[in-house]
Amino acid sequence: MPEPEDRPDDQPDERPDERPDEQAGERAGERPAAEPTGRQRLREAFRSPGRGQVVVAVLLAAVGFGAVTQVNATEEDDSYTGYRQQDLIDVLSGLAGASERARSEIARLEESRSDLLDRSESRRSALEQAQEESDTLAILAGLVPVRGPGVRIEIDGTVSIDSMLDLVQELRSAGAEALEVNDRVRLVAQSSFEATEAGLVVDGELLGPPYVLEAIGEPSGLRGALSFPGGPEDSLEDDGATIVVEQLESVEVDSVVDDAAPDVAVGVD
């Protein structure tokens, strides 16, 4: 292996090149005129290639081939075939860490999901309960029309207010859930009776005979509450009225109380 020629490869005479450029120019100037410059040599080689260039051509072909092959492989290579064992282990442990993190994230999200579901569940049941309660209270307060089994009591003739109040009280204590007079006035907790010449005034409405009182409740129980000795039926007949009681499968109470909201009373916790 001839040493001097090998130098440019292994340990090229770097010193002149690393110096500032004036030095290189100086050196070129120093060159004897007989020795061709690099450019001239290159031009010469292009014009009249020697036999030695064939070997160089073969090797350069190998370089080009290898480079293109490698470029292709790099572009195509989306798999891990070219990886070293250590690289693969690193990739694997990285993936394992990532999947571990993802799994704990999933667990956390599932927990918060079930938490939210629980909360919305309990909220919905609270809402249902409140709705039910509100329905019940609306019925009791006379805010909605209702229907159900009950009795229809028709009273004709003159009635005293005491007998009327007695009748309503007896119906209530027998479990009447909704009461209505003459299809016009719903009887609720705030209802009041007044006696006038023309007839009864119930909640500000003047009503004349015949008075029709519809009550929703257990029909036979309501019926029994009227007919015991000294009961409302007797006292109404004593007043000089006639009373007819029908037990019905379905009684409709359509009238409602308009404004049940209290004006001045507020709740105390």
Binding site: P8, V56, V58, L60
Partner: protein, 110 residues
């Protein structure tokens, strides 16, 4: 002239054939290519210096490629293949830079 034709021929051959790199050689091919590039630039520089010899070129080309691939192979056996191939690439890259600098001075006088 022939040398340039040879380089173009190799590139075209690679483009046309689209060969698959054998799995066993895959870590060494890029190192070998860089080492061969280094040898090629060294040869061009020697040529411009007027000290080119095709026998030397062949020997240095082959030994460059073999040593570079061999270092990486040994590194793989020792479990430091990744680091060693990085080191080889760095060294070869520095050499390519200095060779190209010399070539540049020859061709452009700058």
């Amino acid at each position: 002239m022939i040398a340039v034709l040879g380089l173009l021929g190799g590139v075209l051959l690679g483009l046309v054939l689209q060969p698959d790199v054998p799995v066993g050689l895959e870590p060494y091919l890029p190192i070998a290519v860089v080492a061969a590039l280094d040898a090629a630039f060294g040869g061009l520089r020697a040529f411009l210096d007027g000290i080119f010899d095709d026998k030397v070129f062949v020997v240095s080309f082959v030994s460059n490629v073999v040593i570079a691939a061999g270092i990486v192979y040994i590194g793989d056996r020792l479990g430091v293949g990744g680091q060693l191939s990085t080191g080889v690439i760095v060294v070869l890259g520095i050499r390519i830079f200095s060779n190209v600098a010399a070539i540049r001075r020859h061709l452009f006088h700058a």
